[in-house]
Amino acid sequence: MLKTTAAADIPSAVDPARWQDYVQLLKPRVMSLVIFTALTGLFCAGVPLNPVLAATSILCIAVGAGASGALNMWFDADIDRLMRRTRGRPVPAGRVQGADALAMGITLSLFSVGIMGLAVNLLAAGLLAFTIFFYAVVYTMWLKRATPQNIVIGGLAGALPPAVGWAAASGAAPMNAWLLVAIIFFWTPPHFWALSLTTQDDYERAGVPMLPVTSGEPATRLQILIYSLILVPLALAPAFTGLGGPIYLAIAALGGIGFLALAVKLFRDKARADAKRLFAFSILYLFLLFAALLGEHVAGVHPLALLR
């Protein structure tokens, strides 16, 4: 579907814009997940960290994520207005002008990439720039309204922060960094589709071709199951590649069983409550996986390297 309403058509602000509205443009909840996964990548690199440069890296990644959020809210204001979940956002609600969100997004993008390049290293800056571009342009402008594979391909943007963190710490992005990226990449479809099974009326009204809208609920439940079957073994892999230790292995194994059980139940029983349960569990699952890796690396627990 083509974008029919330009962001400039959004009515001018009626309520005064408070500073909190500009913070909301940065999608602070998404930002907190990005910070957490980037921090895990930073520590997993296993190199001595300069605290100032480590903090600067995390700040740049957080601001970069916020900038893509602002650009997304600018471009998507027309469809955000049509969906219950998003109609209270500052631009569709008329508290912040679309042009202001655009200006803020561009300024913060330049700031975050520029500081990352000058203070940390060019690989991390390049990966951060690619992440912002991928979310704001490839996902938001090209894919979201065009294909039900929007969140599969676009999920790469949300998956990249651990690699940016790793590159910021070490100046390189080895296989283990991309393994973390792959885990988030394959986690995104079951996570998002479980949510979209409960909010598909919203997407239908806004004309966003989410999988439940275009292919129906049975196909979506099958796709959730397929991606879960790829994700769970993949999440065990860090214990075999010298990245995860015994705590990680235990969490990946137990969490994986829980994830698969919920995906199978959703596929079989077709209940919306199961979709909600899987959505909530997917957040806990990813959080625990990355918390285990972060905790092990901070505490100095030796990784298992079962394949070495």
């Binding site: 005064p16 500073w19 500009y22 300069n50 100032v52 440069l53 700031f111 203070a119």
Partner: protein
């Protein structure tokens, strides 16, 4: 309908909040550049061996 006086006051308060947020942001930026410069200069000065 809301009182125009209250409305003006709400706008003034919101603007003042935005101004303070921008001030804090700019100060944080200046401090960040200063600290990064010290860190990078410090590292390079010891690396040269002079």
């Amino acid at each position: 309908m809301s009182d125009p006086k209250d409305e003006a006051e709400a706008f003034r308060k919101a603007r003042s909040g935005r101004n303070i947020a921008i001030l804090i942001g700019l100060l944080a930026f200046v401090i960040l550049v200063f600290v990064i410069t010290l860190t990078r200069l410090g590292g390079n000065a010891t690396a040269t061996g002079f």
